[in-house]
């Protein structure tokens, strides 16, 4: 119970921190990065279902992200559907796609699954690049409108940020609820021992496909938000590099931890901005960071915050008394 409260508290604190940044820093560049941070949080939470909780080495989330962005962009920019009808539609398309990809691929494990997911990224990338009439090819889709709430259009990045933040918070909270439900337990059980899961009468493929579809739903939201936020999308955005970044965020923050996912997304989005002078070599320090973390604290950086909070709580006498009474 106690550890749950610490975990939820860290999530709330991290989001509160993000929400307060614009009150102290007004630079347009920072507001832009804050939007990217929120979208990255959703993407890392998505990856956390399949790679964190369910422990399956599927690395192709960028392809889902691309499909979601394009679905949204085409419905919104070309067919004029509007933001709120396009959002659920891109969620549906992405989750159906994840279901179709998940059922065959999740029968294999480990390195084979990793390889298949890489192939999936290439296939999706090639389709987008070459289906000129539909996706606009390498030129991408321009002029994607910003979302509107009633008659108010979120043209400013600051307003867009509050929408992204609200959705990221809602999805993080949903992640926590799922983690605490029987589904979260089943995901972790599949990661630990698939045969034992089957021997309590649960299909391990079903559990993995469920984690996969949840990953699709989350990337669907992220894809829609990104397309509208960026106004323009093109194939080179959905690169292997960007894909490796989500992976870094999840591992650095903490695998199968919601506060870890949020923390990783915040820290690394900021770190990438700081590392911009390195140009294309910016991944090198991140790779080093991953190696160091895996060697010394595989649970990710979030574990340090959790320990610090747990240690601090001991100094609050009222709480300690209450717990002692509770036994």
């Amino acid at each position: 119970m106690n550890t749950h409260r610490i975990r939820n508290g860290i999530v709330v604190a991290l989001f509160a921190f993000l929400a307060l940044v614009p009150t102290y820093v007004e630079a347009p560049y920072v507001i832009f990065v804050l939007n990217v941070t929120c979208i990255n949080i959703i993407l890392v939470l998505a990856l956390n279902f399949i790679l964190g909780y369910a422990g399956q080495v599927f690395l192709g989330t960028i392809a889902f992200f691309a499909v979601a962005s394009y679905t949204h962009a085409l419905l919104f920019a070309k067919l004029g559907w509007g933001f709120w009808p396009s959002l659920p539609m891109s969620i549906v398309v992405t989750s159906v796609l994840s279901l179709l990809i998940g059922i065959p691929t999740l029968r294999v494990r480990g390195a084979y699954l990793a390889l298949m997911s890489m192939g999936f990224i290439i296939v999706v990338g090639d389709v987008i690049k070459n289906w000129m009439s539909f996706t606009g090819g390498v030129w991408g889709v321009p002029n994607i409108p910003r979302p509107d709430i009633g008659t108010f259009t979120l043209t400013s990045n600051l307003h867009m940020f509050y929408l992204c933040l609200a959705l990221a918070l809602a999805l993080a909270w949903l992640s926590l609820l799922i983690e605490d439900s029987r589904y979260g337990r089943a995901f972790k059980a599949v990661r630990d021992d698939q045969l034992a899961v089957e021997m309590v009468g649960v299909s391990s493929t079903y559990v993995k496909v469920l984690a996969f579809v949840l990953c699709g739903v989350y990337t669907g939201v992220a894809g829609s938000l990104f397309a509208s936020f960026n106004v323009y999308i093109s194939p080179e955005i959905y690169s292997f590099n960007y894909n490796s970044i989500f992976l870094c965020m999840l591992v650095v923050g903490g695998l199968s931890s919601v506060p870890g996912s949020v923390l990783g997304a915040i820290l690394l989005t900021a770190a990438i901005e700081v590392l911009r002078p390195l140009k294309e070599k910016y991944l090198t320090p991140l790779a080093l960071l991953i190696i160091i973390i895996l060697l010394f604290e595989p649970a990710g950086l979030v574990i340090f915050i959790e320990r610090a909070v747990a240690a601090l709580r001991k100094f609050i006498p009222g709480k300690r008394l209450k717990e002692a009474r509770r036994g």
């Binding site: 972790k188 630990d192 021997m199 009468g201």
Partner: protein, 261 residues
């Protein structure tokens, strides 16, 4: 009377090794039957065949009248056949309580959204599974250990936790694969009571075991295997006096002499 489990002429060959060879036996409703035999006689292989961990080379298996050897593993458990493992199969990151809750997953009916949001009937379902899990942990004597990580339990207690997890699937037939391995004499005393208590809940038991004190105390019928074949079947008394069984376990005098020479 229809047998609860009926194994007909099953075989399993690993290359040229006949681990299980043309074996037939049955388990009746409400009985405790034991499967014994020297090391490598095919007892665990037999359980792995029935629960579909291995594929049969030949033969048929029937459970409560329906054919079992065509189903997926999880479907077998859904029909009412649960097991524990000789070498334990734990969920490393789950607590003892979560292990037992995982056992009741297959009986949860409420849909995804309501379960996650704990809305409507989900609350009652969560309370029911939690109560069952606590009751089963009390039954196996781990009532106060629920919050611990399973891997922090000593070996013998992990076995008891596996039994609770298997019981949570509400089986008609329970396979216990060497439940007494790594247990002290006092723990075996309690295990004897536990096995009987499980049977008294109307659950049949197939027990694979080396510790004869447990087998001879609880089993009503004993099947003896050697080199994958059934060499004897009967009550504890009959088995203890069967010359073939004694030979299988102790060897013949002249064999021993020639081996020593």
């Amino acid at each position: 009377m229809v047998s609860l489990l009926e194994v007909r002429n099953i075989s399993k060959h690993f290359g040229g090794v006949r681990a299980v060879d043309d074996l037939s036996f049955s388990v009746e409703p409400g009985e405790i039957r034991a499967l014994i035999g020297p090391n490598g006689s095919g007892k665990t292989t037999c359980i792995n065949l029935i629960t579909r961990v291995y594929q049969l080379t030949g033969g048929e298996i029937y459970f409560a009248g329906t054919r079992l050897d065509q189903l997926a593993r999880h479907q077998i458990v859904q029909r009412g056949l649960a097991r524990t493992f000789q070498n334990l199969r734990l969920f490393e990151t789950l607590s003892v309580f979560d292990h037992v809750l995982m056992g009741s997953y297959l009986h949860c009916q409420v849909d995804f959204l309501r379960t996650v949001l704990r809305a409507g009937p989900a609350k009652a379902e969560i309370r029911a599974t939690t109560d069952t899990a606590q009751e089963l942990l009390d039954l196996v004597g781990l009532g106060d250990k629920g919050h611990l990580l399973a891997r922090s339990l000593p070996y013998g207690k992990r076995r008891l936790m596996e039994i609770a997890r298997a019981l949570a699937t509400r089986p008609k037939l329970l396979f216990l694969d060497e439940p007494a391995a790594g247990m002290s004499e006092e723990e075996i005393d309690r295990l004897i009571d536990l096995v009987r208590a499980i049977r008294d809940r109307g659950i049949s038991i197939l027990l694979v075991e080396h510790r004869m004190r447990l087998v001879m105390n609880v089993a009503e019928q004993i099947v003896v295997l050697n080199y994958g074949k059934k060499i004897a079947e009967g009550t504890a008394q009959e088995i203890q006096n069967n010359p073939e069984v004694i030979t299988a376990y102790l060897g013949k005098l002249h064999e021993k002499v020639t081996r020593d020479a």
